[in-house]
Amino acid sequence: MNNLTALFSGLIFGFGLILSGMINPAIVLGFLDLAGEWNPALLWVMAGAISISAIAFHVAAKHQRTYLGLSIRLPSSHTIDRRLLTGSFIFGIGWGVAGFCPGPAMVMAGSGSTKAIIFTIAMLVGMGIFEMWQRGNRSVA
């Protein structure tokens, strides 16, 4: 059952990315291009998405378990460390180069777009490199 609801959530998430235009890197880069013909679309997407999910987090805060009886797992870390900043900085560089972030890239890869597939494979390799680097660090420490 929880796999089915995950599938459904992913599907609706994908529909949202399609309808909002966020699967189009040109629109995302248009938002990031403050000195060009700035396109505010991403702000509207975030406004819609944040307001709805804020309600859900408000509801979730009053519960221990989900409607499927699963435990609610939220990140517990509160420290703003170098990892968070460096990682977000590196992500921002890549985002600014291609206009793709993970969700839209995988939606477009699913549509068969060669360029999105290339980006997605590189992204998975990047995640794999991170994973190996982490394990290396752990075994040294």
Partner: protein, 142 residues
């Protein structure tokens, strides 16, 4: 451009609402944050009982254009970045989102929605970096 201003905000807002609904469903049913990089990156650890829902969510994303096209046409998508830069960008996005524990969905939408200071800082960081990068590529180098 005028046309963009009139048409885009409504579909962008409605699309955002759908993204918010998906995140809400996922939170209230599966008890998880709908952070795409976290869901995907978690697959590299291969913990038992932790794989199925991740694959299912990604599958949902992957088939979304196919299902969408049974009812509507897909909006135009322009990917103008060349293949070499796409590979570099992909590597950076993959590594950076894992190192920084989130991307536009996990930090930018879910984290900001629950007013997590970490996510608000992360979102400012990747947005400012994105602004700077596009400025550099479009207005300084080009």
């Amino acid at each position: 451009m005028m046309n963009n201003w009139i048409q885009l905000p409504w579909s962008a807002l409605a699309g955002g609402v759908l993204i918010g609904l998906a995140a809400a469903l996922f939170l209230l049913l599966n008890g998880r944050i709908a952070g795409i990089s976290g869901i995907t990156g978690g697959l590299f650890s291969l913990r038992r009982g932790d794989v199925g829902w991740r694959v299912a969510f990604i599958l949902g994303l992957g088939i979304s254009t196919y299902i969408w096209q049974q009812f509507f046409s897909l909006p135009a998508v322009q990917i103008e970045t060349n293949e070499v830069l796409l590979v570099i960008a992909g590597l950076l996005v993959g590594f950076g989102t894992r190192y920084g524990s989130g991307c536009t969905s996990g930090h930018g939408v879910c984290g900001v929605a629950r007013l997590s200071p970490r996510s608000i800082v992360a979102t400012f960081t990747f947005m400012l970096t994105g602004f700077a990068m596009v400025y550099l590529l479009r207005h300084v180098i080009a």
